[in-house]
Structures are given as C-alpha cells and as structure tokens.
Amino acid sequence: MTSQTTIQKRQATTTRWLLLPGIIWMSLFLVVPILMIVYVSFWTQTTFNISPDPTLASWKQFFSSDTYTGSLWTTIRIWLIVLACTFIVGYPTALFVGLFVKSQTLSTVLLVICVIPFWTSFLIRVLAWRPMLGKEGAINIVLMKLGIIQQPIEVLLFTELSVIIGMTQIYCVFMVGPIAFMLSRIDRNIIEAARDLGAGFGRIFWKIIFPLSLPGVVVGAIFVSVMVLGEFATSGALSGRKVNLLGNIIVTQVGSLKWAMASVVGVILTVVMGIVIAGFLRIVDLKREL
C-alpha cells in the first residue's frame, strides 16, 4: 500500500518534469503571443503612434468596412474552393497510391514523387506558376500551337483562378499523404470479404473504403485549411494584388505599422481556424483512429 503510493508519487513527479519543457515552450511562444494579440487589438491607434488605452475603434473599423469584411468572405470562399479542389484531385491520387498500388516500394516512390516540388522554396513554387499561366505563358502557347484557341486566355494569371490553381497544386500533397496512409492501412481481406459477399465496387467504396479513409480526409483537410486560411504569399504573387485574403491584410497593416488593426485581423483569423478545426474534429474521433 505505502510502496504503491510512493511509486505513484514518483511517477507523478516524473510526469511533471516531462511536461515542463513543453509547457514553457507553448506558454512563451503560443499562449502569451495570442493573449498579446488579443490585448493589442484593443489598443488605440493613431497614424504614427499606438497607445495601450483600451478602445473598440479597430474592431468597429473592421466590421464597418467593406474592404475588410469582403476579405473575410474572400478568404472563406477561396479556402472552401481550394479545399474542394485538393480533395477532388487528392483523393483519387491517394486511392491509387495507397490502395491500388500493391507494392509497398512503388507506393513509397509515388509518395516521394508527390513531395518533390517541396524540395524548392515556397516562393519559387508559387512564382513558377507565372511563366506557366501568363498571357505568353506555357499553357497559352501550347493551346495556341495546337489550334485549340486563337487568342491567349487572359484570365489564367492575376485572377482568383490563378490563386486557386496555385494553392491547389501546393497544398494537394497534404491531402494525399494522410488519406494514402489511412487507405494503406485497410486490410485487403476486408475488401475481398465485401466482394465475396456480393457488393459491387461502388458499394465497397462508399460503405467500406471511404468511411475507413475518413480520418485521413479529416487530417488532410485540417492541414490544408490551416495553411490556406493563413495564406498571403500565393495570393500576393499570383493575383496581382486583386485577391486580398486576411493574411494579405495583416501583411499590409503590419507594413504600415497599424498594429491594432493587424491584431484584430489576426484574432479573427485565429477564431475562424479554431471553428474550422473544431468542426472537422467532430466528424471523426481521431484519438480512436490513430
């Protein structure tokens, strides 16, 4: 009895020591900065100065300006479109890599191929789309040479479309990875059993394969969502400043030293992300699945 309590006490002490570095790290670099941002968002901003007198001015300004609320809706719209595109492109890819490819080696090779673009820097990946999509870019040249179009398609670059194309390409692999992982864990005997019981491919996919890959879809969607919602570089480089996401607003506000406004947008962005992640986590119990 007494020896058991000492062991428990000792374990509790060890646990506390193991937790300490994480707690310190997370407090210094996550909790304190977030509290700071919330605090600063209520500061008083004048043109060249900022003072900690509490005010709702920046919050009122955000919600009364069409530019700001508009960028909130643009962010949400682009996020939803990119999420859908990465899923539509990513799921079949993952299905092929994770389930249809029987050889473990080949499926690893294919996954590595998906990751190859990440060997260059983020900005290069984004900027590489310009010579592809431009008025005199690769796609237009090829289409014109083939005689499919007479005039170059101008909506390809510096529009919302180019931002969506760029983001889908960059973030697709974050959707493919988790889904392919979940699919590769499905016991092949289960699929064989379902077929033996007379289910066709469609039924097997919707009733067995898709539900079992759902945790991967959720993890992939969380990855993509977090990154797309916080995006500013792709929209900056590929939209010609026509698409302003919340991330772009933060960058410009910080650039002109409008810390209070930047903080307001930061808080709103964080809240949106929190809601999105919480929503996704309601779909599956990840703790049970992983």
Partner: protein, 358 residues
C-alpha cells in the same frame, strides 16, 4: 458420388517457379466437414482460395453443384469464405457486419427482412444481445462468430474457413471446435476447414485431406488417416509417430534397431519405419527383449495432464518420443542422461517402402 457439392479436377497453380498446387483432384460431398491439413507452404490455403475464386488455377477445373465454375468470380459462386483474421468491417456494428451481404449485394430483400435474417443468424452463432456493439468492442471468439454469421446469412452451400481458430487462444479454440461442428450440423452445409494443427484436423473433420508441397497425399476419415497414414509425410504431419529411416528388402526392415520382419508395407518412395509415441516401451538396458530394440539416452519429460511425454536421444542424435497415458498407471521414473532400452511390438508398427507387398 451423387451428393457431390464441389469437385476439383487436376487443379494446378504456380507462383513463378513455385508450384503451389500440383494436379489436385478432390471431391466433396454435401453436408460434410472436411479438414485440409498440411504444414505452411503445403498449398492448403491456395487450394481454399482457388475453390473460393480468389485465385484462378493455371490448369484444371473446379466444379460446383455439377457446374464448371472455374471462370466464375468469387461472389457468384455461392461459396462462403471466413478469413483467418476474420476481416470484419471495423467501422460497422455486429448486425451491420452480418447483414452486409444482404444489404449491399443483389439480394433485393427489404430492410425488415434483412434485419430478421441477420438477427436469426446472430442468434444461431450465440451472439444475441450483441447486435448493436461495434466489432472492436467484442472478444476474439465473438468476432469469429460474427465472421461466420456474416458468411452464413448468404446461405452458401459450402463455407470455406481459413485457419478459423488460429487467432484464438487455446481455451477458446477447443470450445469453438464444438461450436463450429454444431453450427454446421444444424445448417447441413459443407464446411471446408484449413488448419496446420493435426489435433484440430482429427477432431473436426468428417474427412481429412492431407497436403504436402502442393499435392494431396491422403484423403480419408480421421480414423483412417491416423490409423493408416498413406505415406511417411502424413505420419510426420500427424506428429504422433517416431519415424526411422532404413531399408526394406525381402520383407525385412533394417534400421538402427536391427532387422525386423515386415511382411506388410505401404508403398512409398522412402523406406520408413513408424511407431506411434504411445506404442513405445522403455526398459532398463539389461532387460532381455525379443523384438526390435535400441539404446537411447533419456533427455527430459513433459507433463501433459492426462499423459506424460518422455524424450530420448538415440546415438545418432535422433529424438524419440514416448507417450505414457496416465490412466494406464503412474508414469515410470527415468534418470536423466541414463541409457534405456526402447522397444515396441512390431505388429503395431507401420512400415513404408518401395517394396509393397500388400
């Protein structure tokens, strides 16, 4: 056979250079429990998968109810398959698993009818009250029953079971043996059971099919196979015989134990002399014996509850096993590392040899 359910005719299957099945021919009757016995790599699982339709044979035909089904896909064969690891749908409940084939196949039944049939089958395998549970919330033995019920709801004429008891612990295994037999008898369908365990094959099969390196080497009732193994390989798999190499000529077998008259021999490429573990007798070295005998050193013994296994080492390093049934009296005490004389009644031995005089 009039009541034949399925028939294999010269089925051959290769994986590259490896011959998994070599000209397998077999007939299975209706309402029969058949065990496929063989070591791993003997082709027993491949044979099962060929019957199920998961693998296509290179040559030979598979007939089911008199129809050639060699090229028919698995789900159109009316043959059920129970996987070794059960292969239950992990995200579905017990009743959803059991009803899967009826719900998602071509049964065309109403939801109410599917539920009624599923519940009936759940009751049959003894899982009433568990239909709403997730399959990860039930025990191994219960999962086994769900897998069986899932197959049985499709009313197959034949159920193939791939090492169905392999994933269960020893206690549960012997209980499920009886259960499987009882369920089969109630439904009157043919079960084909693949196993690597000779006790399981003997206990469960109405007939045993012994496989070795892709070939069917004996088919018979447990009694026939146990009492008269058709070859030294069968005797070896049964794990109940001491096997001695030697030569057979002129009705005499020459082995480490000397020359023994063996007027009757089972035809075989190898000359092997087989004595069942429980037919061995142990005597002091000084004892006089008339029959075959040889010296061996006592190594160890193993208490098995109802019997005692004694292990001896012959001069050539060969391990000889001797089983003593404790119901026949207390076990003899042996001194470790001491030599003893092993003997047996030659009438009870089984002799294999090229020279078949039967």
């Amino acid at each position: 056979m009039d009541t034949s359910v399925f028939r294999l005719d010269g089925v051959t299957k290769r994986y590259g250079d490896l011959v998994a099945l070599d000209n397998a021919t077999l007939e299975a009757g209706a309402n029969e429990y058949i065990s496929f016995l063989g070591p791993s790599g003997s082709g027993k699982t491949t044979l099962l998968r060929v019957i199920a339709g998961f693998e296509a044979p290179e040559s030979g035909r598979v007939y089911f109810n008199g129809k050639d089904i060699t090229n028919l896909p698995a789900h159109e064969r009316g043959i059920g398959f129970v996987f070794q690891n059960f292969a239950l749908f992990p995200h579905l409940t017990v009743i959803q698993n059991v009803g899967f084939g009826l719900t998602h196949g071509k049964s065309g039944l109403s939801a109410a009818e599917i539920e009624r049939r599923s519940l009936e089958m759940i009751e049959l395998v003894g899982l009433s009250g568990m239909e709403g549970r997730g399959v990860d919330q039930i025990s191994g033995g219960q999962r086994q029953r769900v897998a069986l019920a899932r197959t049985l709801t499709m009313h197959p004429k034949v159920v193939l079971l791939d090492e169905p008891l392999g994933a269960l612990d020893a206690n549960l295994r012997s209980r499920m043996r009886n259960e499987l037999r009882a369920i089969r008898e109630r439904l009157g369908v043919t079960f084909v059971h693949v196993t690597g365990s000779e006790t399981e094959a003997l206990a469960m099969g109405d007939r045993i099919v012994v496989l070795d390196r892709g070939r069917i080497i004996q088919v018979g009732t447990p009694d026939e196979v146990y009492g008269a193994p058709a070859s030294p390989e069968v005797a070896h798999f049964l794990n109940r015989f001491n096997l001695f190499d030697g030569t057979l000529s002129g009705g005499t077998f020459n082995g480490v134990f000397g020359a023994v008259p063996s007027p009757q021999a089972i035809p075989s490429d190898r000359s092997v002399y087989a004595v069942r573990y429980d037919r061995m007798q142990v005597l002091p070295v000084s004892a006089k014996v008339s029959g075959p005998s040889f010296r061996a050193r006592f190594v160890a013994s193993e208490y098995l509850g109802s019997s005692m296994m004694n292990f001896f080492e012959a001069e050539d390093g060969h391990v000889i096993e001797m089983e003593h049934h404790l119901s026949l009296g207390a076990a003899q005490e042996f001194e470790p590392r001491q030599d003893y004389l092993l003997t047996w009644n030659p009438d009870q031995a089984i002799v294999f040899g090229r020279e078949a005089s039967r």
